[in-house]
């Protein structure tokens, strides 16, 4: 139990380096070990979460060196929650990949599990430079995964992803150097404790660079250029990994360093910045998704919009809003994974592009995947009683309670737009080319607008959703 935190990072890492050896023995062994390691990773993360839940914040000293000279892992409720989310997400991606990886492609598992170790490490570390190292581990394995077994367009996407990500890493590294220059420490706890020693100008510069770096990774709107191409061109499990799991690490960093940005910009101004950028991100993501022919890109733009929801939640800044953001992040993780997986199944794995038209009539051909896709799009839209409805509803409630009625209305409007573009895909799924007659599609559109109307009505009725409320209250006590 005492070494639980480091095990969460080491288990996938050790497996990653054993992959070539296991592959020498047999590829079956390698594959079954991959499944087993994913489960072990998840079990350790959950055990860590339970441990932190019962005993409070945990500090783990790497190699027994105390925090003055050594590096520590710092696990509080927030970190433990994200660790479980990441382990669950990577486990699901790994299981999906068991079928996806062909003979002689074992390096895929190597990259996937290195990414998994990096993702877990980034949320558990208590050291600023260590965080940078883990971010780079995620980034490097991510570049390779995006280009994995795909054509020229994927290479281009990987290149673009790489340019944006390295730029963000450089900014973060420089910000870290500034922090060390002023504070003389890289320990997150000590930085938080001695914030007031910061020269305000240096603080503003380094927080600015750090924020831009994180925004690049989160794909917040003016800096989102890499995301649609990367999600659209990479293969299904990789897209799922980036959209579902990879997206959570910059979100965690943003939440973890909120106090830092607050000190730099002032609480009021930071809230204005986050609300403003969040609103633009929501609007942009939803409207760009409307005209997209490629389904994975639609999912990418919807990710951008959902990032916007989370930013607005962080901008509102009340504890309830923060919990709503975390709840929404969890739902987004699960739903995005299931959306990507079902798209992968519907388009039969590995095609270069999956346009909406490719899906014509596929829903009837593979009913299970079709249903999964429908359910996940309904969740992405935010239809009750799916989890994403509860979290979206909590975000809207948080906005109303904090007197940000405009943002609540924007989120509801975004939901309607999402209903339109997901409805379009869902409609195509169950219509074959021959009976695409106007009267049929008119009925389908009627259903579509009907569902949008239901969402609006429910969102406006402000009816309490008791189960979700109770879960949220309990989580709130624990995480904050």
């Amino acid at each position: 139990v005492t070494h639980l935190p480091i095990l969460v990072i080491i288990v996938p890492l050790v497996y990653a380096f054993l992959v070539p050896l296991l592959d020498l023995v047999s590829s079956r062994l390698r594959t079954s070990a991959a499944a087993a390691v994913a489960v072990t990773h998840l079990v350790f993360s959950i055990a860590l979460f339970i441990h932190v839940f019962q005993n409070g914040t945990l500090e783990y000293q790497l190699g027994g060196w105390d925090s003055e000279v050594g590096i520590i892992l710092y696990i509080d409720g927030l970190a433990a929650t994200f660790a479980v989310m990441i382990a669950l997400g990577t486990a699901l991606v790994a299981w999906y990949s068991l079928d996806f990886v062909r003979e002689g492609e074992s390096k895929y598992f190597l990259l996937l599990y290195i990414a998994s170790a990096g993702l877990s490490g980034a949320v558990l570390t208590g050291d600023l430079f260590n965080l940078y190292v883990f971010i780079e581990i995620i980034a490097l394995s991510g570049f390779a995964l995006v280009a994995f077994r795909r054509g020229f367009r994927a290479l281009m996407a990987a290149m673009r992803y790489m340019i944006f990500t390295i730029l963000s890493s450089m900014l973060i590294l420089l910000a870290i150097a500034f922090v060390y220059a002023t504070m003389g420490t890289l320990n997150l706890g000590e930085i938080a404790a001695s914030m007031h020693q910061f020269d305000p100008t240096v603080l503003k510069v380094s927080a600015g660079m750090f924020l831009v770096g994180v925004a690049l990774k989160l794909a917040i709107v003016p800096l989102h250029g890499w995301l649609p191409a990367t999600y659209g061109e990479s293969s299904t499990p990789v897209g799922a990994l980036l959209a579902g799991v990879g997206h959570k690490v910059p979100l965690y960093i943003l939440i973890r360093f909120l106090y830092f940005f607050e000190a730099a910009a002032g609480e009021q101004r930071l809230a204005t910045i986050l609300l403003g950028i969040g609103a633009v991100t929501i609007a942009f993501g939803h409207f760009m998704a409307l005209g997209q022919p490629d389904i994975r890109r639609v999912l990418g733009f919807s990710s951008i919009a959902h990032t916007g929801y989370m930013l607005v939640g962080l901008g509102i800044g009340t504890p309830f809003a923060l919990v709503a953001v975390l709840f929404h992040a969890m739902n987004h993780l699960i739903v995005k994974l299931s959306a990507f997986f079902s798209v992968g199944m519907l388009t039969r794995g590995d095609r270069e592009r999956a346009t909406v038209l490719d899906l014509q009539g596929r829903g009837a051909a593979s009913p299970f995947a079709g249903m999964a896709f429908l359910v996940s799009t309904l969740a992405l839209i935010g239809i009750p009683p799916l989890g994403a409805f509860a979290s979206k509803w909590a975000l809207i409630m948080a906005a109303i309670r904090a007197d940000h009625i405009g943002f609540a209305l924007l989120m509801i409007a975004g939901t309607v737009v999402a209903a339109v573009y997901y409805g379009r895909i869902g409609k195509t799924l169950y219509i074959s080319t021959d009976d695409l007659k106007p009267d049929r599609s008119w009925t389908a559109e009627g259903v579509l607008y009907g569902s949008a109307a239901v969402v609006c009505a429910v969102a406006f009725s402000f009816a309490l959703f008791p189960a979700a409320n109770r879960i949220l209250d309990e989580l709130m006590v624990f995480i904050i």
């Binding site: 430079f129 190292v133 780079e136 980034a139 490097l140 570049f143 390779a144 280009a147 020229f152 367009r153 290479l155 281009m156 990987a158 290149m159 790489m162 340019i163 390295i166 730029l167 450089m170 590294l173 420089l174 870290i176 150097a177 060390y180 220059a181 890289l186």
Partner: protein
């Protein structure tokens, strides 16, 4: 010392300008290397001061005259990461070049169609 910090700013901005404006992938890679050199120089400058000695415990060396070893450790790590990233980036550029026949990002879009 002042001159070193000016060099840091110059290198970082030069690299950033190069990355943002250039269309040639090789030049973008060079821009990143220049930016990184700026950050590394900054880290090294942080640690050094006049008459500082290496942080090795020897007889007659007081700890106050030693330079801070942490920035050196950080820059070593950053160099390793930078080398890995640059290597991967160059290999990606080679593969793109083989398929597109150009290293200019604005011309690649055309060959793709």
């Amino acid at each position: 010392m002042q001159a070193a910090y000016l060099a840091v700013i110059y290198l970082f901005c030069l690299g950033l300008y190069c990355v943002v404006t250039e269309k040639n992938l090789i030049k973008i890679a060079m821009g990143f290397v220049i930016m990184e050199a700026g950050v590394l120089l900054f880290l090294v400058c942080l640690a050094s001061f006049p008459d500082g000695v290496p942080p090795i415990v020897l007889e007659g060396v007081t700890s106050s005259s030693m330079v801070d070893p942490i920035p050196h450790a950080l820059s070593l790590t950053a160099i390793v990461i930078g080398a890995g990233t640059t290597g991967y980036m160059l290999s990606l550029i080679i593969r793109l070049y083989r398929q597109a026949g150009t290293v200019r990002i604005d011309r690649m879009g055309r060959t793709e169609q």
